[in-house]
């Protein structure tokens, strides 16, 4: 594979929860403005891996990381790292839509207030821009002060993406973003991901192989904490190099 400078790179990454090793020697390169899918059976470490990139694993007691993780060539486990800046650069969308119990507008301005990244007079414009970015503006422009929890699940998940967009991140991590949605909503979110790819790098964890095959450019297959195979989605699904990958994508286990 000939590639440019990766936006995320891990080198011999190991992660331990206490004495349990959840990630084993992971070397992975994620390309800028591409969609990279992490697949594998439950417990393979794909969610753990994606939570390394914005250091959300730090919230769990007893986590230990060795090796290097570079985001835009900066080691994010260096002691000098600014976590707040990191999480602004690397946004995250969760499995269950989790908009704050605030209004639609407040959900989007939360990040702006936290990072003081925009003057208040620009908030209105940013709300519009972010909602347009996730194709919610037409639906919600008259309901900006309505509670976010009153929206449909799909709209809530879009709003969660919109509030990440408002922070102007470089990378968006998505941890099974469609698992709470119905098939039609799932399709729409996948369409949205393809739109967003023009401006953002997307890393998506999914247990749904069809989704990885449909929506991603690169796929990483993980098993029991190891990165088994990584490559362009088309070739990985068409001609997997490793037997175990083939067994998984053909549904023989997992």
């Amino acid at each position: 594979m000939s590639m440019e400078q990766p936006i995320i790179e891990t080198r011999s990454l190991n992660l331990f929860y206490g004495s349990f090793q959840a990630l084993i020697n992971v070397d992975l390169q994620i390309q800028d403005r591409q969609i990279t899918a992490l697949i594998g059976p439950s417990g393979c470490g794909k969610s753990t891996l994606v939570r390394v990139f914005n250091r959300m694993n730090d919230l769990i007691d007893g986590v230990r990381v060795t090796g290097r993780v570079l985001v835009q060539a900066e080691n994010i486990y260096a002691p000098s790292i600014d976590m707040i800046a990191l999480r602004r650069k690397v946004g995250m969308v969760f499995q269950r839509p989790n908009p704050f119990p605030l209004t639609v507008a407040e959900n989007i301005t939360f990040g702006l207030e936290v990072h003081r990244s925009l003057p208040r007079s620009e908030f209105r414009r940013m709300i519009e821009e972010s909602l347009k970015g996730v194709l919610l503006w037409e639906d919600l422009k008259d309901r900006l002060d309505a509670p976010a929890l009153g929206l449909s699940l799909e709209q809530q998940q879009r709003l969660c993406i919109a509030r990440v967009l408002a922070m102007k991140p470089k990378i968006i991590l998505m941890d099974e973003p469609c698992s709470a949605l119905d098939p039609i909503a799932t399709m729409k979110i996948e369409d949205l991901m393809r739109e967003l790819k023009r401006d953002y790098t997307i890393v998506i964890v999914t247990h749904n192989m069809q989704q990885a095959a449909r929506a991603s450019d690169f796929t990483a297959f993980m098993y029991l904490g190891e990165l088994i195979e990584f490559g362009e989605t088309k070739s990985l699904f068409r001609t997997p190099r490793v037997k175990r990958t083939e067994d998984y994508i053909t549904g023989r286990f997992g």
């Binding site: 976590m83 707040i84 119990p101 605030l102």
Partner: protein, 300 residues
């Protein structure tokens, strides 16, 4: 099983269901009936005062001389006393109570948390007469010396004592509400780069607001209804207070202090019951306003 047996079994099941449903219904309705009976009793005993004293003179009268001749039943000083003491207690206990709840729920390390929670529950278990007693012998003299006033038994002393009593209610209920805020909200806020403080203040505290309002209202309910402690520390002067450093007398303390001296069925007796009606209406209004607020914010 024959058809007859099956029919019988169905019938038995139906009767049993019916009995269970009725029992639950009766238990549920009992509490409502009891409240209604209490209110009716209050009305029956208290309303006769308005034959001799007009409602306006009763509520707005500045003098409470129940045993003079002729007796004067104006409860404005008592209402003012109750309001002053309650407002003072709220000002003291609400910020501290909510802050402790946030500390216990969000910040304290697990061991500290356990100790604090146990301590607060213990605090709630202290009988009010003991708190009143401690307030009377320690707080009273302290306030007397501190402000150089003739008596330490003042509205301020009452507010402090009652704030202390409302705190366990406010802290433990607010803490439950904060702990019940789903993890996902915190995760989302942290993932957006919010600090612990920003997450707590802007997201968790907002999500827990209905519960915190309920906590405050229950705490205030305890304050308004509290009798023993407040009677011991406020000095019991039925005068309209002009500052926190004057003795006051509350609605509750008046009933408790004077009921023993009245003649059943007399004007004084009826006046005390009418005070009961006023208290009942005040607490009812507080509950109703809280309920309205909570329903509104849930719908919102």
């Amino acid at each position: 099983m024959s058809t007859d047996e099956r029919r019988l079994a169905t019938k038995v099941r139906k009767v049993r269901e019916f009995l269970i449903e009725r029992t639950i219904f009766v238990s549920g309705i009992t509490s409502i009936v009891i409240v209604a009976l209490i209110f009716i009793f209050l009305l029956k005993e208290g309303l006769s005062i308005f034959l001799t004293e007009s409602v306006f003179d009763f509520l707005g009268g500045q003098f409470w001389y129940p045993i003079s001749d002729p007796a004067v039943f104006g409860i404005l000083p008592l209402i003012a006393g109750s309001v002053l003491v309650t407002v003072g207690a709220a000002i003291l206990s609400v910020p501290i109570g909510i802050a402790s709840a946030l500390y216990i729920a969000e910040i304290a390390p697990p061991r500290t948390k356990e100790v604090l929670k146990a301590g607060i529950e213990l605090l709630a278990a202290i009988p009010s007469v003991i708190i009143g007693f401690i307030g009377m012998v320690t707080l009273g003299p302290l306030i007397k010396d501190l402000f150089d006033i003739p008596t330490g038994l003042t509205a301020l002393t009452g507010s402090l004592t009652l704030a202390f009593m409302a705190m366990p209610t406010i802290v433990s209920i607010a803490e439950d509400a904060i702990t019940a805020v789903p993890r996902q909200y915190r995760e989302a806020a942290i993932a957006m780069g919010a600090t612990k403080w920003q997450t707590t203040w802007k997201i968790v505290a907002v999500a827990a607001r209905p519960g915190m309002v309920a906590a405050v209202m229950l705490g205030m309910g305890r304050v308004i209804g509290e009798t023993m402690a407040v009677m011991m520390v406020t000095g019991n002067a039925a005068l309209i207070p002009h500052s926190f450093l004057q003795p006051v007398r509350t609605l509750t303390a008046t009933i408790a202090a004077e009921m023993g001296e009245t003649v059943q069925g007399g004007d004084h007796y009826a006046a005390l019951f009418a005070i009961g009606i006023v208290l009942f209406i005040i607490t009812f209004l507080i509950n109703a306003v809280t309920d309205l607020y909570l329903h509104r914010s849930v719908r919102k």
